[in-house]
Amino acid sequence: MKNYKAPLSHLLNPGHSACAGCGMIIAYRLVLDAAGKDVIVTNATGCSEVTTTQYPMTSFKIPWIHGLFENPSAIASGIVAALKYRKDEKTKVIAIGGDGATFDIGLGLISGMWERNDDVLYVCFDNEAYQNTGYQSSGATPLDANTSTTPPGKKSLGSKQGKKDMVAIALAHHIPYVATTTTGYPLDIVAKVKKALSIKGSKYLQIYTPCVPGWGIEPKDTMNVSQLAVQSGYYPIIAFENGQLTAKMKIKKIPVEDFLKNQKRFKHLFKGERFKEEGRGEIPRIQALADENISKYQLT
């Protein structure tokens, strides 16, 4: 069979070791292509750097730096200061972190960057756990999710803690642009990155990126499962400019159960004798969270 050679024209080359069907790497490539080559990227520790920059190779075709887990925001602030010193108004700066790096260990440093309103687009690849190190629970892990540190068992139905509202935290810093999007709507990612980079000051873009092994889905389900998350109200797609809600994705409102049931990380809510009563009882709780989003943001 004839093989066609890809022109390798994206700013993120293939040959990386992201899983087949990885939601994060799809989003990463879309973000970089939307940003263009005049961009410098700082990256937290996690899948986004481990799969792409194994010395002496890299997938990136833009200048890129990885420091530590918690500090892509602060390193980006330093880069912005250097650009200001050089009076360079053309080069953009993007800081990247997973949900662990963003919601947990890096939160303080991100807060500092936002307080300074540094001209940085912070992109969070949210897959709701420390997926790279073995699916441990993070501040973004939702209620009842099965992670390796919140496993279901005789005395547990998975994560007892809800998901930290990082969008609210971003809005509390009064930064000019805060938005969410997801791998399942690639054109939305492109539009939001372009919009964000046209604004001066701190921007936050949270991208819901399904994790094939962490969520327990098939590689081909990545796009679909993130769309279900949005259409059920579980993960609202919203955008705020200067604190005002200026865009949202209206949804069909499907039951949240449709989103949960095909992921292994929620299957304990549906299967087994013991879970029939208790697990079933959790579904309405999760539905209520989705309904709250729908009502709060008027998603229907």
Binding site: A6, H10, H16, A20, Y55, T58
Partner: protein, 91 residues
Amino acid sequence: MKLPLSVKPGTTSKVKTGNWRPLEYPEIDHEKCIGCAMCERACPEGICFSTGLKNKSGKTFFEKDLDYCKGCGLCEHVCPVQAIIMKEEKK
């Protein structure tokens, strides 16, 4: 200091991840393809691309680079006209 700590851009392209494919590969029907680029957007490897060639309907059709394709099947899933089918691969 002799060892370069910086890494030159795009060098992972040396790694042909096509050998990750377990069972199937995507086959694209050039005539069905409408050139919408959904497969290009959805491909985690970024190796679904416009060939620049036109099919009989005048649409520029897409193809994929099997040197890198990991066989995830997202292209088949997102194609709006079912121009891409995951076929069993004979090794």
